[in-house]
Point group: C2
Chain length 345, copies 2
Amino acid sequence: MAGVTLKTVAKAVGVSPSTVSNAYNKPDQLSTALRERILTTAQELGYAGPDASARALRSGKAGAVGVLFTDKLAYAFSDPYAVGFLAGLAEVAEEFSTSLLLMPLSSTDIAGGSNAVQQAAIDAAAIFCVPGGHPALEILANRGIPSVSTDRGDHPDLSWVAIDEVEAAAQLGEHLARLGHREVVVLVDNAGAAGGRPVELTLDEVGYTDCELRIRGLQKAMPDARLRIVSGGHNAIASGLRGAEYVLDSQDRPTAIVGLSDVQALGALEAMKVRGLTPGRDLSLAGFDDIPAAAAAGLTTVRQPIKDKGRAVGRILLDPATTERQLMMPTQLIVRSSSGPAPRH
Amino acid sequence: MAGVTLKTVAKAVGVSPSTVSNAYNKPDQLSTALRERILTTAQELGYAGPDASARALRSGKAGAVGVLFTDKLAYAFSDPYAVGFLAGLAEVAEEFSTSLLLMPLSSTDIAGGSNAVQQAAIDAAAIFCVPGGHPALEILANRGIPSVSTDRGDHPDLSWVAIDEVEAAAQLGEHLARLGHREVVVLVDNAGAAGGRPVELTLDEVGYTDCELRIRGLQKAMPDARLRIVSGGHNAIASGLRGAEYVLDSQDRPTAIVGLSDVQALGALEAMKVRGLTPGRDLSLAGFDDIPAAAAAGLTTVRQPIKDKGRAVGRILLDPATTERQLMMPTQLIVRSSSGPAPRH
DNA sequence: TCGTTTTTCTAGATCGATTTAGAAGAACGA
DNA sequence: TCGTTCTTCTAAATCGATCTAGAAAAACGA
């Protein structure tokens, strides 16, 4: 049963291995009759078709694109924003009959050879919100794997599909400033705070480039405001909840909370509800991304075309017709009921 | 730059290729000094570590688990239920430093060798709601790849993690029957109706095993009711919306609509809202899965532990300590405001 | 009919590692 | 001091295909 290879089939049919290979990969290189005969015999022998690894080795094509996520792989699915990206990417991958390889970014043994990014059989990689300088990025670069990032890179030969984080955040900041907010808390994700108690960070301690840029954008637009940075853990509703609890239960309540992602903001929304606070009246709340749930919750947010982002990344990775390798996507401030004038004392 | 292999490094250091290989994979098989020297030289030469495909070929381990989805790959991400499954699976995969390979199920060239399922370099596969008899399943079986399905299989040697679909649906059916509903429309996903107009189906035409079983469960619990089966396309909110529109705008309105997934039901909810119908009063609505949005929408539904399902599948695939290869997960009827007594005429 | 093109098929090298069995030298016990 | 066991390293086979160049046979044109 096992151990049936191209050779076995070739011997059984009485042709060369090359011919059997051609029967599978280049049907027009041999007569229909012979091809038929080969395929039939293969089936009879229980041959399952050319071995994937062997083919990948020899042909140099793995037929898969890798996807690299910020946090733990499982967390990626807790943010509809990340899921939307995947959906867009998957759409293009499907078009090119390419699989998506989601790689865990577990930090163990990055130096040695036994980590997923090192072992992954992929032709290219999409890098989703991975902080620059992460060891996994270096591995990819070393392996010579073409990559596209969702963060704007410094080098001119890097490929990316991004938004103008600073400008997008500034739009939101202007909106809040105009409403009179001077005391603002920003909720960020931070692996360090995961599981533990919420932490207050300085701008330098904010690891992720995009988060940092957004905070800069807010600062730029609201120079008179006091911005505090708080994290309740990784990017998830529960973290936003924890972070907001910490802030709301302290003596030093802000007049506005900005989640750097909608899931963070939705977590904060829950914390407000529990405390009987009405968003937009007692305290303003805003998010980032405009995931579907944001509309339902009446959350003011900055919309970014996430599915298009995924599609664009996919095209750069897979479609040879795509020449533009650095793409700035548009964003849009969506004002809903969760933001309102700062209450006067 | 390119073309640096184990051999190159070996030659440069002046050792055999085996030793270089050991430096990466079996550190205790050589002296620390030599290992150090090899790794340094490798870096200098720009060697990126053992080639993934070659390693996979020789060692017979790909370091990845395949995931097979019902519909188009991109659709998988439109249902939080599927995403929850992925999250659970990813959790376990991460634990075992294994990647997840999402394979598109594009129907093209199933017979030939050039489809993703055939080409995928995977050690095992998770099969999520793929209808039995699908060609891709046969390919996996042929390739001898151990698989676990989310649908209960017939053969005793198949592995699966499932729920008692019939019983789960029967619970919901009883609930509706008790409320006096006799005219029920079931919304199912159906690839055939995708993009086009909603279609009305017979039970035989319902492709997916789990959908069919659920309908049987409903029938069993409400033998006096008239059950109509309608599909607005694949499994997504938009399809539920279309299907419900078709039903609500016809002469023959039911007293209850059951979506065989929550996303279908949420689509129907939108259709009702637009028409000024209050769920639970004017018309009852129920779903399946209990995704997070269901609670927010007040949707009566059947909860299944989807993340646990993903975890369990992952364990069977990856954890050698797991012996139970057929798992029935519990379900629970969650009654919310969307279901109420059938209106009398 | 004969040379030319096209179709059909093959031999052998190669992709880049891992594995097995065993050699050479060092350390060890008596 | 001599045989034995460990440690450290290597030679050669192997994983299972695909590719390149070219041979043999068939079809074609004049």
